[in-house]
């Protein structure tokens, strides 16, 4: 028991170190290469360590490239990855469904309705234009979808049965899909389909400091809250009746967690599109390595999700010269083989 505790503590520290190194490497790579020590210098100076009398020898250009241009994107990628992974882990435990992911409650479909309307029709939304209009429209669409799904799924005694939620999510998602497909087909813009597809597969290319900070705050709040409820989530291991008899207020917890994961996801989708794969697969990867207990599973999922998305985004902006590859394509291409390897390795257990 105590040995397992020490092992998971080491795992967390290690994962955190890997994330820090990954971010430093990603910050250094681009049209201008900057060495990892110089990247560290920029970041440490910006974090206020210069006041301790240290000199990092950072040039103004390096500072601008690392802190102003690349940091929002790298930090945004890490936060989106972390938040998607913890939301996926929470939803998989809450529904006891291996296929649950952050877009379970029709979030991505609803967001797509909003985003595609702006992308294709080029309308402004609530006074915003361009990518800000897309973000706001996507968030509004996600909220409408969430309310529809909750209204469809809620039972006569105010409970939220997971099976009904999944089906309601599918129904709302189908309607949303029909709308976006129709809009793309009817559009007379020749690149409408390509732009919509690019949005749907996700990207953090548009991240600036304010959006990166917003996503980071959302990811941190979500992760801290979910980790605080780790014991409640553990109690679902043997199902709903067992969770109740262990003292969990199941109905209240479901409302709380379904709503919060949906809000977090809606904000992520608004800024980064519907990045697939991370929220579905990362929790499974982490579970197969450290087991299903949430006090370890949730923080480690966040860190692994962050690392995966930092590297995926690095791939997205560097693999093909002069063109962005959608994030969802890279996450699937990188993550799926590793997941396949884990599936084979754990053949005996299932």
């Amino acid at each position: 028991m105590r040995r397992a505790g020490a092992r998971s503590a080491i795992g967390l520290v290690l994962a955190f170190a890997v994330l820090a190194v990954s971010m430093a490497v990603a910050l250094g790579i681009g049209s201008v290469s900057i060495s990892v020590p110089d990247v560290a210098g920029v970041v440490l100076r910006r974090l206020g360590l210069e006041s301790l009398g240290l000199d990092f020898g950072v040039t103004r250009l390096e500072d601008r490239i690392v802190w102003q241009l690349r940091m929002p994107r790298v930090l945004g990628a890490a936060s989106v990855g972390a938040a998607l992974a913890v939301c996926g882990a929470v939803l998989q435990s809450l529904t006891r469904n291996d296929l649950a992911d952050p877009y379970l409650l029709g979030i991505s479909g609803g967001a797509a309705v909003g985003a595609v309307t702006v992308l294709v029709l080029g309308v402004s939304f609530a006074g915003y234009v361009g990518s800000a209009a897309v973000a706001f429209a996507a968030f509004a669409g996600a909220m409408v979808a969430l309310i529809l799904v909750l209204a469809l799924a809620v039972g006569s005694r105010g409970e939220l049965p997971p099976a009904r939620l999944v089906l309601a999510g599918v129904a709302v998602g189908q309607v949303a899909g029909a709308y976006t497909s129709l809009l793309v087909m009817l559009s007379d813009q020749h690149d409408a389909a390509r732009r919509v597809l690019a949005w749907t597969l996700g990207s953090v290319a548009g991240m600036r400091w304010n959006s990166a900070l917003a996503v980071t705050v959302v990811a941190l709040i979500g992760a801290v809250l979910f980790i605080a409820l780790a014991d409640h989530l553990d109690a679902f291991a043997f199902g709903e009746t067992s969770a109740r008899s262990l003292g969990v207020n199941v109905v209240r917890l479901r409302w709380l967690l379904f709503t919060i994961t949906a809000l977090v996801t809606a904000i992520l989708v608004a800024y980064a599109g519907a990045v697939g794969f991370v929220g579905l697969i990362v929790p499974h990867m982490v579970r197969s390595i450290v087991g299903p207990r949430h006090r370890v599973l949730l923080p480690l999922s966040a860190l692994v999700g962050a690392v995966l998305l930092v590297w995926a985004d690095l791939g997205a902006r560097t693999l093909v010269d002069g063109q962005e590859i959608p994030l969802g394509v890279v996450t699937a291409a990188v993550g799926a083989p590793f997941f396949a390897y884990l599936l084979r390795r754990h053949r005996e257990a299932r």
Binding site: M1, R96, D98, A228, L229, A230, D231, H232, D234, A235, A237, F238, G239, T241, S242, R244, S245, L246, G247, V248, N249, R287, S288, G291, P292, R293, A349
Partner: protein, 274 residues
């Protein structure tokens, strides 16, 4: 388990005016029922007679339409869910998981109600010791590092009992805990329950097991209590015939100071096909 014995309320478990219905169909109606503290009470009755429902209503897993459930002076239905879970534990008929938990981790789930507090984790100082005691009491020490999913049905139920004991309850509710177990594991499970000394309500199907391990019996039929009291008074040929539609002879056991049930055949075929 000395704690459970010293704190025993004198009046035990009192159920008053308890009703539960689904879409206007009455599933259970118990005007009044008292279970004595410190005893093992068997809950008997055919399939669908309301045994599980009664256990779920008492444990707070379901909320009744009306009525009250008291443990001594404590109103169980007015309690917070997590406080109720510190007072009583439930073992289900068979509950499984797809997760890769070790046996010890399953037993540790019993400490969850002691760690929950306003949504934030609380330090559970007695936790590891309570888990060790529960593991020792159910004699599952050799299993603790094993993956739960690799255990046999009998071992799994024993682990569930250990989890329930780790909750340190004053009241133990068992829902047909020995179904699907072989004979040896059935006897073994109920022996562990008796040895725990905790006030227990156990839904059982096997009349012979009920006669052997229970002090008192409560018999349900179609959602109503048709008999309640000490085993010797409740368990009769007449009752078995009335409730189960089975011809049986209840007589003193030839070798033990308890009753023995000999089943002679089906009494009323109409009842079964109904």
């Amino acid at each position: 388990m000395s704690l459970a014995e010293t704190d025993l309320p004198r009046t035990g478990l009192t159920v008053t005016g308890l009703r539960w219905s689904v879409r206007d169909r009455r599933i259970l109606e118990v005007p009044s029922l008292t279970l004595r503290p410190g005893r093992v009470t068997g809950l008997l009755g055919p399939n669908g007679s309301g045994k599980t429902t009664l256990l779920h209503l008492v444990s707070g897993v379901r909320r009744p339409d009306s009525g009250s459930v008291r443990w001594g002076e404590v109103d169980l239905l007015a309690m917070r869910t997590r406080e109720r879970a510190r007072l009583m534990a439930l073992v289900e008929q068979h509950s499984g998981t797809a997760l890769e938990l070790t046996v010890r981790q399953v037993v540790e789930l019993g400490r969850v109600p002691h760690r929950l507090r306003a949504g934030l984790p609380e330090r559970d100082v007695d936790g590891p010791a309570a888990v060790d005691r529960a593991i020792a009491a159910t004699r599952i020490e050799p299993l603790v590092q094993r993956p739960w999913r690799q255990l046999s049905g009998g071992e799994r139920q024993r682990v569930h009992l250990a989890r329930a004991l780790a909750q340190e309850p004053q009241l133990l509710l068992l829902d047909e805990p020995t179904n699907h177990l072989d004979l040896r594991h059935q006897l073994d499970f109920l022996t562990r329950v008796r040895d725990s000394g905790i006030t227990t309500v156990a839904a059982l199907h096997d009349l012979e097991l009920a006669a052997a391990y229970c002090d008192d019996l409560v018999v349900l039929d179609e959602g109503r209590v048709v008999a309640a009291g000490p085993v010797g008074e409740v368990l009769t040929d007449r009752l078995v015939a009335d409730v189960y539609g089975v011809l049986a002879t209840v007589a003193p056991h030839p070798h033990h100071p308890r009753l023995h049930v000999r089943v002679d055949g089906v009494l009323d075929t109409e009842r079964c096909s109904r």
